[in-house]
């Protein structure tokens, strides 16, 4: 279930091996020609039908999410390609230490696998998605050669690089799932800017242009407009298929030898919890009550520096320029455990600069409007502080008792509280980001200590582990309790790391697929 980042990678892998794979996706294909960046009113769409929050967007493919008990709003997109249609294409990997937080720092849990085990799948995924980047980053172990050269820094990136240099801090051009040279039949990025409006030329790696064409060519089947209602269980206690609604609401039953969940860190626990039966009264694979628990976002702060000089911030992939990981690894002298990344973000377009993006307040109307717009548009560098969120059982996804989607399936309710560690981490990060922006020449700095609309990364709600009493799936993504049900999305993350997770989620999906292929017999 789910044709996004992870579902596409998994389906491609197993279909290439000759297994019969059927993917059910509640959204539809999105025609790249429909992306708004070819139109004059392109900026408005981000505030309406292209909004990342399904509660605002309210398309037919969306389901409501009750986030009234969370300071961070979950964001997602339902379509072939999933949230990679919308995403910014940041593509850093988790680091070796991210898989060993218990051993190294005494917090949370170690993953049941290592960076080294996952590394070949990172490489395979980089090859499939197409990545712009540069080898030699001292913040990482040596990686395979990046498939295409790094994205240009532009004046904005170079300005910020000088700031980091003045402080002696780390920076590196972001690994981005964008191709800067023609690659695998895709066009090179033309630095148009707003990647998160969808890429009409296919330079950004959304899985509708990377994995899916290859998966379908390998024989995989993809049914769109198919919203899964529940996973069904046979008399042996194993899953035997799913029940889903088509776009007209008709109910279908689909039998399967194995069921794979790739519906994201909210959709996957929602579906497991909704799959109740006499044998599994609390939801499928939820005998230990952990499905939906340990929800992790990446708490995100935004710090914005204003510069006298124009920065050409509208040129180049907007979210991606530089990453700094000076404060990534644990240093307890800072007052918190684990760490964070800095993401240097380019500017918004003129309208969204006025409307406020990434925590900026809307520019006031009236006589001072133009002066403030001139100070902001093309004169701002934003640094995002992306912190590692540690798992806490009380942060969770449950089924809402009143709210439901168009098919009457209970909506997810998100209950989340920002931990004291995360709060300290973000406070440290915002202070350091201010320092960096001032070192780069900012004359004014503003910050948003915790960005509400930052729930891009939905992690941990069907966590991976070796102990069936403290985890939902094993190291191969297989539910402890129902061994022919697999999870391949962000739900299975044991910890969150302090970087964007898609590269790691897809590598995990390929890892699970690899072992899945070895464990099943083809018909």
């Amino acid at each position: 279930m789910g044709a996004g980042a992870a579902g596409a990678a998994f389906t491609w892998s197993v279909s290439r091996a000759g297994l019969q794979a059927l993917c059910l996706e509640q959204g539809d294909w999105v025609d790249p020609a429909s992306y708004a960046t070819t139109r004059g009113d392109w900026e408005l769409t981000r505030q309406a039908e292209w909004h990342p929050d399904p509660n605002v967007r309210r398309l037919a493919a969306d389901y409501p999410v009750d986030a009234t008990e969370s300071p961070i709003t979950p964001l997602m997109y339902n379509a072939v390609g999933g949230s990679t249609i919308h995403w910014s294409a940041h593509f850093p990997r988790f680091k070796p230490s991210d898989f060993r937080v218990k051993t190294l720092d005494g917090v949370a849990d170690d993953w049941p696998l290592t960076y080294e085990e996952l590394e070949p799948f990172f490489d395979l995924n980089d090859h499939m998605m197409g990545v712009a980047g540069l080898d030699g980053d001292p913040a990482y172990p040596p990686k395979s050669p990046r498939p295409t050269p790094p994205i240009p820094l532009g004046k904005l990136g170079e300005t910020m690089a000088r700031g980091f240099d003045r402080l002696g801090w780390h920076w590196w051009p972001s690994d981005s799932a964008i191709v800067t040279r023609p690659y695998d039949g895709r066009r090179a990025c033309n630095n148009c800017g707003p990647c998160d409006w969808g890429c009409p030329i296919g330079a950004k790696a959304s899985t509708d242009v990377t994995y899916w064409p290859k998966a379908l060519a390998s024989g995989a089947r993809l049914v769109t407009g198919a919203r899964v209602r529940e996973i069904t269980v046979g008399p042996d206690g194993r899953a035997d298929g799913v029940v889903y609604h088509d776009a007209e609401g008709r109910v279908h039953e689909q039998k399967a030898r194995a069921v794979v969940l790739a519906a994201n860190g909210i959709g996957t626990p929602r579906l497991l919890l909704h799959s109740r039966s006499g044998r599994f009264p609390g939801g499928l694979a939820n005998g230990n009550g952990l499905v939906g628990r340990d929800l992790m976002f990446h708490p995100f702060a935004s710090v914005r520096g204003y510069f006298d000089e124009p920065l050409d911030g509208f040129k180049g992939p907007s979210p991606c320029s530089i990453i700094s990981q000076e404060f990534y690894e644990t240093d307890l002298a800072r007052g918190f455990v684990r760490g964070y990344s800095f993401q240097v973000v380019r500017g918004f377009g003129p309208a969204n600069s006025a409307l406020g993006g990434l925590g900026e307040p809307r520019i006031a109307w009236g006589r001072e409007h133009h002066a403030e717009h001139a100070r902001r548009w093309n004169h701002t560098i934003a640094i995002g502080v992306m912190g590692e969120d540690l798992p806490e059982p009380d942060n969770r996804v449950v089924l809402d008792r009143e709210l439901s989607d168009a098919n009457g399936i209970s909506a997810p309710r998100v209950i989340y509280r920002l931990s004291e560690n995360s709060r300290r981490l973000l406070a440290h990060g915002t202070d350091r980001a201010k320092e960096a922006l001032e070192a780069a020449g900012a004359t004014r700095v503003e910050m948003t200590p915790l960005l509400q609309a930052a729930g891009w990364h939905l992690l941990g709600t069907a966590r991976m582990g070796t102990d069936p009493s403290t985890s939902v799936v094993d190291r191969y993504g297989r539910c402890h309790e129902v061994p022919n049900v697999y999870v391949v999305d962000g739900s299975l993350c044991t910890t969150s790391a302090g970087v964007n997770p898609t590269s790691t989620i897809q590598a995990l999906a390929l890892w699970v697929a690899h072992h899945f292929k070895g464990s099943v017999r083809t018909p």
Binding site: T37, T38, G40, D41, W42, E43, L44, Q47, K95, P96, S97, F99, R100, T103, L104, T114, Y115, E116, L134, G136, P138, A139, P141, P142, P150, L153, G154, A161, D165, G168, H170, W171, W172, P173, C189, N190, N191, C192, G193, I201, P310, F314, E326, Y328, E329, T330, G349, P350, A351, A354, L355, R362, W365, G366, R367, H369, H370, H373, W377, N378
Partner: protein
């Protein structure tokens, strides 16, 4: 929007359209280099969006009605008869009295204004959408990374990386 287009759309009445134009001129006034929003035609954008979304049409109509009522309390001839300061006062009151409608008005006013080629040219922005032309940019100058490249590894080694048979962390 052409007269024929307006007649066909019939989204706003002529009175609403005139009020909208005056309101937009207060929300985003003109400068020596930039036009005021109403005069520049941002109202056409607002009207097009309203035409496409009946709920928005209702909301904007509600907002304009609120503004008209508040203005009438200050002057019998309404918003048009008020001076700029009085118009601002009315709009501040409207933003409190009908916050959702006013919020929608601002959203579409700003979006429409900053999509006008004349405005984009005036602020130094490309007067075209991002695609299909994109932007020329120089590739990364790797010499900028000389200092960072000299740094020792920043990542923490793990027992896995250091154990025999696994990859060295390079530290």
């Amino acid at each position: 929007m052409s007269d024929a287009g307006r007649a066909e759309a019939s989204v706003f009445t002529e009175a609403e359209r005139q009020l909208l134009r005056q309101v937009l001129d207060v929300l985003i006034p003109g400068t020596s280099t930039l036009p005021a929003a109403g005069q520049a035609g941002a109202g056409d954008h607002v009207e097009r969006r309203a035409e496409a979304t009946p709920a928005l049409r209702r909301r904007l109509g509600e907002g304009l009605a609120t503004i008209a009522i508040l203005a009438a309390r200050s002057h019998p001839d309404g918003f048009e008869a008020l001076d700029h300061d009085q118009r601002e006062t009315v709009l501040h009151a409207a933003s409190t009295e009908a916050p959702d409608a006013f919020d929608a008005l601002i959203l579409h006013a700003y979006s429409g204004y900053y999509a006008l080629p004349r405005v984009l040219a005036g602020i130094g922005a490309p007067d075209r959408p991002p695609q299909p032309l994109g932007h020329e940019m120089a590739p990364l100058d790797e010499r900028l990374l000389a200092r960072v490249k000299r740094r020792p590894p920043l990542y923490r080694p793990t027992p896995d990386a250091l154990s025999p048979g696994t990859r060295s962390c390079g530290a």
